[in-house]
């Protein structure tokens, strides 16, 4: 009885430790997921809050044929110009060329301007262009040709 009781206690003890460890591991995994999510989300919020762009075209005289759109990085973070989305009159434009002004970096630094050249000829009338950055920050310009 004495030996078997000790064995039973040992088995209970080991089982309890194993179960507790499994529960802790599962909880740790959840906490890791939550903290990663919080980190990622806070990074995204931070970048969104530090991002701002402005289409600085002269709305009275937007170059046509080709259409040229000038977008200035007004935020405090470096952006990747290759991840922008350009919409002209509600349609996504994929056939455009980009060039950077105001710096020698290959990225879109704060205060620098990118030139988006769209090889289109706009008809006379009202038009709207929207540029959206990689993190969803956008600016819109309405103009008349």
């Amino acid at each position: 009885m004495g030996a078997s009781g000790a064995s039973t206690q040992l088995i209970f003890f080991v089982s309890a430790v194993i179960v507790a460890s499994a529960v802790v591991a599962a909880a740790a995994n959840s906490v890791y997921g939550i903290t990663s999510g919080i980190d990622q989300k806070s990074d995204n919020i931070q970048k969104e809050m530090l991002t701002e762009i402005s289409i600085i075209n002269d709305p009275t005289n937007v170059p046509n044929d080709p259409v040229r759109i000038y977008v200035k990085n007004l935020g405090n973070t470096v952006l990747n110009q290759n991840y922008i989305t350009v919409m002209l009159d509600g349609m996504v434009v994929t056939d455009y060329t980009l060039s950077l002004s105001g710096n020698t970096s290959s990225y879109w630094d704060p205060s620098s301007v990118i030139l988006i050249t769209i090889d289109q000829t706009l008809a006379s009338g009202d038009h709207t262009v929207t540029v959206t950055t990689e993190n969803g920050i956008m600016d819109r310009l309405s103009f008349r040709i």
Binding site: A28, R68, L74
Partner: protein
């Protein structure tokens, strides 16, 4: 049994403490990031609310082919000049020079006026401008006729010349009864103001109105000068209403008779020179405009008499403009604007009376009008300045 429960609870407690501290650190880190971002965002918004600029003047100088934009920092914070942008005619200018009162600096303090200079700017006449009339000043003028525009606008008014800034503010009057007896045509070019006097000779004055010399006086080759034009090589003079002579711009000496009467020219009355020679000609009481190459060849009529009436003056816009145009007084109440080949671009009559006499165009269109004095019309080129935080101002030249 009791020991197992205790061990389990110990493991749970330790795990809870560790995981809670990890979670707490993560949350506080996220909170810090958002707080810092909010602070920066607030700073940006605060700076933006304190930022304001105002374009106070834009002028084009034909001698240097420079567009000069004067912008005042009317906000309450300093701005970085190197992070400012300029758009002319809607196009981004990648190259321009800046200074503040002649000093090259990158800090633009409140109330300071930044001068932005663009060489060879893309400015042009735009026929589709809603509000063309910029300013009129008749305070000094009684019967203005010929005018010429350089760094100032010089307007012939009787036997004197009134001088205005390019914004239309009166500066001073040039009166010299000894050397300016009966002036009939004026041109400002480079450092000199050239005045055709007594229908016999051309005097030179400096741009402050001080007489310099009699520059062209040649009774043999130019017996009755009528009107003249200037480029960097020659003075082109209509003589005796029947031919055009050339004189050297450096010496004033006769070079040759460039265009003889006959052919396309019958009785010329005014001339202007750009990439071509344009002659306002008269035939049987009707006006038309002929165009010649700078060597006098290839004369051809480009605007017929059907378009013109009571034409008194013709000028061509400066060579630095994106597209050169002819500006012609017509019907005494409007300015006709045409391409160099004679194709019409538009008419200007806003702010003009029925007594228009002269016209000259640089970055703006200057008109002498017997009723309204010196009238300045917009050319139609827009200029926009954007500073580092996106605040901007726009003006039409």
């Amino acid at each position: 049994m009791g020991f197992s429960v205790s061990a389990t609870m110990a493991i749970f407690l330790a795990a809870f403490l560790i995981l809670f501290s990890i979670l707490y650190a993560s949350v506080t880190d996220a909170f810090d990031k958002v707080t810092v971002s909010l602070d920066e965002r607030y700073d940006d918004m605060s700076e933006r609310s304190q930022t304001q600029i105002s374009i106070i003047d834009v002028n084009y100088y034909r001698d240097t082919n420079d567009l000069e934009v004067l912008v005042q920092n009317t906000g309450s914070i300093a701005l970085e000049i190197s992070e400012s942008n300029l758009l002319v005619s809607g196009l981004f200018m990648s190259s321009f020079i800046t200074d503040i009162e002649g000093k090259t600096t990158d800090i633009w303090l409140p109330l300071e006026v930044l001068t932005i200079t663009v060489n060879d700017p893309l400015i042009d006449f735009d026929s589709d401008v809603g509000l063309r009339n910029l300013v009129a000043n008749d305070a000094q003028l009684s019967s203005p006729t010929s005018l010429s525009v350089g760094e100032c606008a010089y307007v012939l008014d009787g036997n004197s010349i009134d001088v205005f800034t390019l914004t239309g503010t009166f500066s001073f009057t040039i009166t010299d009864s000894a050397h300016m007896v009966a002036p009939s045509d004026i041109k400002v070019f480079g450092e000199y103001l050239y005045v055709l006097d007594e229908a016999s000779h051309i005097d030179r004055f400096d741009t402050d109105g001080n007489w310099v010399d009699v520059f062209v006086s040649d009774a043999t080759n130019a017996s009755t000068p009528v009107s003249f034009a200037i480029d960097s090589d020659y003075i082109y003079m209509i003589d005796n209403f029947d031919h055009i002579d050339r004189f050297n711009i450096s010496t004033g000496v006769f070079v040759d008779q460039l265009i003889a009467n006959g052919g396309t020219m019958t009785s010329p009355i005014d001339i202007t020179v750009g990439a071509y020679i344009f002659v306002l000609d008269n035939s049987s009481g009707s006006n038309h405009i002929d165009r010649y190459g700078l060597d006098g060849s290839e004369g051809a009529q480009i605007i017929g008499s059907g378009m013109l009436s009571s034409t008194t003056d013709i000028s061509v816009s400066a060579g630095g403009l994106d597209e050169r145009s002819l500006f012609i007084t017509n019907n005494s109440d409007e300015i006709l604007v045409a391409y160099e080949n004679g194709t019409m671009r538009g008419t200007i009559d806003e702010g003009l009376s029925d007594s228009v006499w002269g016209v000259d165009a640089t970055g703006k269109i200057f008109v002498s009008d017997s009723v309204n004095g010196l009238v300045i019309e917009r050319l139609g080129t827009s200029v926009k300045v954007v500073v580092e935080n996106g605040i901007s101002d726009i003006i039409m030249l």
